[in-house]
């Protein structure tokens, strides 16, 4: 569909414009009245003509070319005459014509009677209110997503373990399962408490006073997982009267602090609470 660009003078509109049109729009050169009836976008429709009809059009256009060249020449001559008169004729239609689109309408009907400041305040108020609504909506969206990610109430309820402490005599260990891990509960005697409190904890590998590891001194609650490689230490064993890990020989004291062996940290203390005097809730 390549071909020469054909300048066409449109005589019917009465203006001195040179339209540079591409071959698909040859239709307009064939019939200026047709071009006036159909808007430019309809030219694109001719693209979808069958190849036979477009071949026909091309043939016709080739025969019509001399005519359109003559039209161009006459048009240029006329423009030269207009320049000689040295008067300006707008290429656009004048506003005085009937139905002209160049008339500026009267907007005074729509003009606000308020002061410019109050109009400004109204605009800024609307913008600020939109910002307010956006902030609330964004916050609610983000919060809903985050709440969705956190554990639901039934999961949280299942993740807790309640133990009755009355069944544990003094000086005994109890191992329970909590979230798939063993938890050591030791009812310490007064002597063990004194031993744990009097130890020099500042020089230990993981220095931590006994007060930070227990809520009530007689109840020691720890995760029964060796901090070295995750074995379960044995209670009431080891050189320090606490726990001893048989896997690699880590010794923990009566407060669960690492004293000797490869383990780097003290036995972990889970979150727990005493909702009643004789009840322990882990989790």
């Amino acid at each position: 569909m390549t071909g020469p660009v054909i300048p066409i003078a449109s005589e019917s509109s009465g203006s001195n414009f040179n339209f540079r049109l591409h071959p698909p729009s040859i239709l307009t050169s064939l019939s200026p009245q047709l071009a006036a009836q159909f808007p430019p976008w309809s030219i694109a429709l001719t693209m979808s003509l069958s190849s036979a009809s477009s071949t026909l059009l091309r043939t016709v256009a080739r025969q019509q070319l001399p005519t359109s060249r003559a039209a161009v020449t006459s048009c240029q001559q006329r423009r030269g005459v207009a320049d000689a008169k040295s008067s300006f004729e707008s290429p656009f239609a004048s506003a005085n014509e009937r139905g002209s689109t160049l008339k500026i309408p009267n907007f005074s009907k729509y003009k606000s009677n308020n002061s410019p400041r109050s109009n400004q305040v109204f605009s800024y108020f609307m913008a600020g209110s939109l910002g307010l609504a956006t902030a609330v909506g964004a916050k609610a969206t983000v919060q809903d997503f985050l709440v969705n990610m956190s554990a639901s109430a039934d999961v949280l309820a299942q993740a807790k373990v309640e133990i009755s402490l009355g069944a544990i005599p003094e000086g005994k260990n109890v191992i329970i399962k909590w979230r798939g891990k063993p938890v050591f509960i030791r009812h310490r005697t007064q002597g063990e408490i004194d031993e744990a409190r009097e130890a020099k904890w500042e020089g230990l590998r993981d220095p931590q006073p006994d007060e930070d590891r227990v809520q009530r001194p007689e109840w020691l609650v720890m995760l029964g997982v060796c901090t070295h490689l995750g074995c379960v230490p044995i209670g009431e064993a080891g050189d320090y009267g606490g726990w001893f890990c048989p896997c690699h020989g880590s010794h923990y004291d009566i407060s669960g602090r690492i004293r000797r062996g490869p383990a780097p940290l003290n036995l972990e203390v889970p979150a727990y609470s005493f909702p009643e005097d004789e009840t322990l809730v882990i989790g």
Binding site: N114, R117, F125, L132, V136
Partner: protein, 67 residues
């Protein structure tokens, strides 16, 4: 009216930071009020049907059993 508009303008709008701060503070207050109001509407609409409305029927008995 113009004086009122001028006061509003010079108080809240003249500085963009003040406008933003006001918008966010208003968002906070609006959310609080909206949540409280909608919760009240929900509770009054579902009066007697929620767990907190019928809890006393069941929890008191349990406590009596414990005692």
């Amino acid at each position: 009216m113009a004086g009122f508009a001028n006061a509003i303008y010079s108080t809240f709008i003249r500085k963009n930071t003040v406008l933003l701060t006001t918008a966010f503070a208003g968002a906070f207050a609006f959310e609080l009020a909206f949540d409280i109001t909608s919760n009240k509407v929900w509770d009054s609409w579902n009066q007697g049907r929620q767990w907190k409305d019928i809890k006393h029927r069941y929890m008191v008995k349990e406590e009596e059993d414990d005692e």
